[in-house]
Subunit: 375 residues, 4 copies
Amino acid sequence: MSTATLPLSPLPHIPAEVRCAQDYEDLARHFIAAPSLAYIAGGCGRDSSVLANRMALEELAIVPRLLRDLKAGHTRLDLLGRSLSHPLLLAPVAYQTLVHPRGELETARGAAAMEAALIVSTLASHTLEAIAAQGPGERWFQLYFQPDRGVTEDLVRRAEASGYQVLVVTLDASIKTPSLSALKAGFEMPEQVRAVNLDPYPMPPPIQLMRGQSRIFQGVMAFAPGWDDLAWLVDRSRLPVVVKGVLHPDDARRLKAMGVAGQVVSNHGGRALDGAVASVRLLPRVRAAVGEHYPLLVDGGVRSGADVFRMLALGADAVLLGRLQLYALAVAGSLGVAHMLKLLREELELCMAQAGCASLADIRQDMIYRERDEA
Amino acid sequence: MSTATLPLSPLPHIPAEVRCAQDYEDLARHFIAAPSLAYIAGGCGRDSSVLANRMALEELAIVPRLLRDLKAGHTRLDLLGRSLSHPLLLAPVAYQTLVHPRGELETARGAAAMEAALIVSTLASHTLEAIAAQGPGERWFQLYFQPDRGVTEDLVRRAEASGYQVLVVTLDASIKTPSLSALKAGFEMPEQVRAVNLDPYPMPPPIQLMRGQSRIFQGVMAFAPGWDDLAWLVDRSRLPVVVKGVLHPDDARRLKAMGVAGQVVSNHGGRALDGAVASVRLLPRVRAAVGEHYPLLVDGGVRSGADVFRMLALGADAVLLGRLQLYALAVAGSLGVAHMLKLLREELELCMAQAGCASLADIRQDMIYRERDEA
Amino acid sequence: MSTATLPLSPLPHIPAEVRCAQDYEDLARHFIAAPSLAYIAGGCGRDSSVLANRMALEELAIVPRLLRDLKAGHTRLDLLGRSLSHPLLLAPVAYQTLVHPRGELETARGAAAMEAALIVSTLASHTLEAIAAQGPGERWFQLYFQPDRGVTEDLVRRAEASGYQVLVVTLDASIKTPSLSALKAGFEMPEQVRAVNLDPYPMPPPIQLMRGQSRIFQGVMAFAPGWDDLAWLVDRSRLPVVVKGVLHPDDARRLKAMGVAGQVVSNHGGRALDGAVASVRLLPRVRAAVGEHYPLLVDGGVRSGADVFRMLALGADAVLLGRLQLYALAVAGSLGVAHMLKLLREELELCMAQAGCASLADIRQDMIYRERDEA
Amino acid sequence: MSTATLPLSPLPHIPAEVRCAQDYEDLARHFIAAPSLAYIAGGCGRDSSVLANRMALEELAIVPRLLRDLKAGHTRLDLLGRSLSHPLLLAPVAYQTLVHPRGELETARGAAAMEAALIVSTLASHTLEAIAAQGPGERWFQLYFQPDRGVTEDLVRRAEASGYQVLVVTLDASIKTPSLSALKAGFEMPEQVRAVNLDPYPMPPPIQLMRGQSRIFQGVMAFAPGWDDLAWLVDRSRLPVVVKGVLHPDDARRLKAMGVAGQVVSNHGGRALDGAVASVRLLPRVRAAVGEHYPLLVDGGVRSGADVFRMLALGADAVLLGRLQLYALAVAGSLGVAHMLKLLREELELCMAQAGCASLADIRQDMIYRERDEA
């Protein structure tokens, strides 16, 4: 492997020039090798859905309210039976040693410092057990279905045994390739950065395609889970099961009906299908589909407290942070992650204050003005 | 402090190259130190609401009318019991010695020369009494609620005693920070530029946060006013009370019902909440909420007589000028302020003439064509 | 005067590199002094309505039709009792010696060669009589109301006596100033380029404003015509009277009702009011207001046969060409004007052929698809 | 002729840097002479409809579905009585020796390798017989009506005799000129690149225009076909007749009623009328006009599997590839064409997989989210 993709040295302190959460994005270029940064910042294909996520958020204008009583203001919420200090979760992000030598271990400590729920990826570059050993904290486990049900179940059992509190099953996008810009930048995943959680299990047998079969349908999608697999998982898991990757309201309705405990509206940060709709665009329809009191999370393009506010106003209970998490980790390890969360939380609180919202429940859709609305 | 943020020398005459009010904006870069200009031109955060104000105005096309009788044409209006020569008011802008050594004193003289109502800020860098002493003129006082009601009331009494005619209470945005671009430009408010109106009063005691409390909700917002505070003020003030910072129609409705004499639709020039809706977007809804005969003002992005016309057509009785005021002040002191007002008034009159409006009352919403309207 | 604003030498032949009418616009920079070009290309203020005209046309997509019989195809029309070979008219453009030594005389010969109606401006830099003396041709006279009715009537009589066939009264925009870009380029009208048609008449007396009067309303607009003036003119003119500068449907309705023979939907090429709506946007509403069989013309932003088609599809009977006329005149005099008209006519015919229109009457609104239409 | 327009040497292998079908477009500049590339990439006029095709596709966001059973996934379809492996057809593209010495012969071999239907142009630079002799494969013949019915019929008979399976009659755009950018780049068709299929036939007699006749209507359109010509052709052809160039729903309805077997919604890749609507915009209306079970194809701007998916979702049964075909041919001959088709097919399959579509019939309009849809 080329050393060009290895992380540069993170800072041992919070950088003075960071004034808002998004500043970590600007700063990250000094701490992440260019090909890796292209891989992280990009989505897939020509990155059109990455851009779509950002554009869709930008066009949502916020309508402030006046004179509301904010003295008891807070950002607490109950979600999936958990009491959270705030609605900022760290999205499952794979392979974090790509940007920091200690990777997920640092992220876990930063999250714990700010009482943020961390969703640990199946594809983490440290074991879920090692991450759990970083001390107490809200931790959820993100699961990718494995070709073998036994392996899948073993991952669930390990998560349960290590104290993970929620199971987040990612259902979108079994196939992911780096974006064209990452490929052109020469990105390759370094050998030593790998999905160590899967080390104990045998590799699935290679798929032999017959003449006329499709490399996609009968090949890479051969082990894609179906509704029966999900039902099996919901049945076997002792943890509440949340599905990540929902965009179509009909899927949301059916998932809720089958006992899924919550859902994450997501286009996988634009990394799954180049051309996929921005997640925030479908959020109101998905909320309408599942009804008012059902755990709904979202990710895709969040860079500021105002973005969090927009997501909550359009129906989300909480948001997941992907790229910001990696950028802060790269810049200053656990300190960076904690600082980014602190900034983002205060930005959210400031936005809530200006919109007269003393609690998350006060954030309502009529505080958003869309360009297409009539004047 | 760095001398870099001190004002450069204003001209003793009207600059020949200024042909329209907005030209003062272009010229100001030669008269305001770069960090200060970044602070003034910017809003907060990434300046998205500053841009939104401008974009929203630009997309409103004007539909001229023909052959109307304009011989008795004028721009007079009665507003809040005051007779005004025209609907151009100078918005409350703090700390004006940042751009001109004599600051608000010059502004007051320029305003008087053009019979423009000046709204003096609580945070003026000259005392409200010294500004009032600049001679006769329409002057209103802008009030920020202070942590102590006694202090708040004393400010009101001082304004009444000095002959101010209207009280404008700003309710948006208790928290304001310079925009990221101003911070990156190294802007800091010079020590000698300060809110001298508050000199007589003791500093409020520092807030001690308890563990788990929010620096925003229980900290900086601790003394934010509520509906009862406003009711108290309306009751105590001998002057008509106007509320500035309204965007949501429901707030407008409630404010009118509680006896507030008028309102300013405003997102604080994009300085309060980055992501806030452009004020002109909500103007028609607020007008609809308060009904036809109720004093409604607006600010946000006005650079030309056509912009004033657009604001009036969508429901405003008058407009407030913020940045243009500072730019003209910086360029040529009171002469600049008066000249800018004269240009803007003539631009408005020209626009009215082309739209066949002999008086402000003739300016109607059907003279505006929006891109989204069907053809 | 500076020689910098004088025209450069026009070509004695059609330039080989011109392949479509709009190419004259690209080429004109080599034949018109920069300040003059800024004056011509610009509108007024910041040129926003110039841009609006172009943008509004660009977003109108054409829906072709198939297999129609085009063997008898032609572009003839009857308009205001005149038989025209095609719907391309030369708009009244003042001061043409600014771009060509022989100015309107050349334009008239180019128009005649292509059987295009030429509308001669009151502010032409050759007399209407001299222009008429260029030989036979369809010629209309554009009239600005003069402060003195006697002068106005004399202009009408001169036009009638010289064989002009239609009277086009421009009602928008009594006040016009060069755009800011033209002023910044140093444009001034050369002394020898002037409105010679007005030479015989005394200058109107200067207006003395009283204190409190407006330089706009009681000054420059003092002699602006009213509905009674127009009624007087319609009554006195032996020629059919067409009104130019209509945008609001209510004005169109009233003008038709009072006996005006036809109308030109126009924002004066963006030269009258910076911020005025694009003329093509209001065209469908004006057509709806005046009904199907009433002469309606339009100008504003036409650069190609497709643009002409768009205008006709949205309700115009014919279009006026302003800037293209000047550009072609500057490049190659009468040859340029004729060539530009020939190209434009063929572009229109080509567009009609592809849309299956054998005559102008076949061009219908359902051949236009607007972005905002639902799919 | 200038050698500047001759093709550069194509590669004898698939280029390593091509990762998606659209990469052939980027690479083509190294294999096609600049003037020829301008001719191919451009449309006509100022290329506005070329851009419109791309923009219209880009704004269609895809809404993925979850957990669908894809094990039997495939892209097969029955179309016009033909069994096709996938819905990717090679559009009729004229003069292919412009970009590759063996031109259409290579294209035919590449198409056959990927089981793609190839539509051979009347204006091919190899004879339809020579192309047919490249071996078995799905081949359709594209017909332009000739001035002489005997010639037209002879072309049909030759196609039938050579084993072509479908007749595609192009009805848009009898007149086509290179775009302005191609003309400015100096493009001229090389003499040795010509429509050899027409070699056996006499040149049609030159048209003599009478005074007052139009070079367009009575000249170049003189032999344009009418409804009776099409009826004659449908009657004479032993092959199913498909019409290419449909955009207006009324035309689609009438064509279906008269027995046309299928239609291609197309603006000729933006090459026919500069200003024509993007084909995908009208696709839903045309589908609505012809009903559910009627062969409908489309072209215009397709660069990726996601674009194919968008077209199918909005009503197409299959899509035609024009420029991608030429780019791949130029880069690597038949290998390039086959590789491009393979990539595009896999991109489509990947998109289908993510949208939960196991067959083309599963691709539905509710998987597309348009910006203008309400949220």
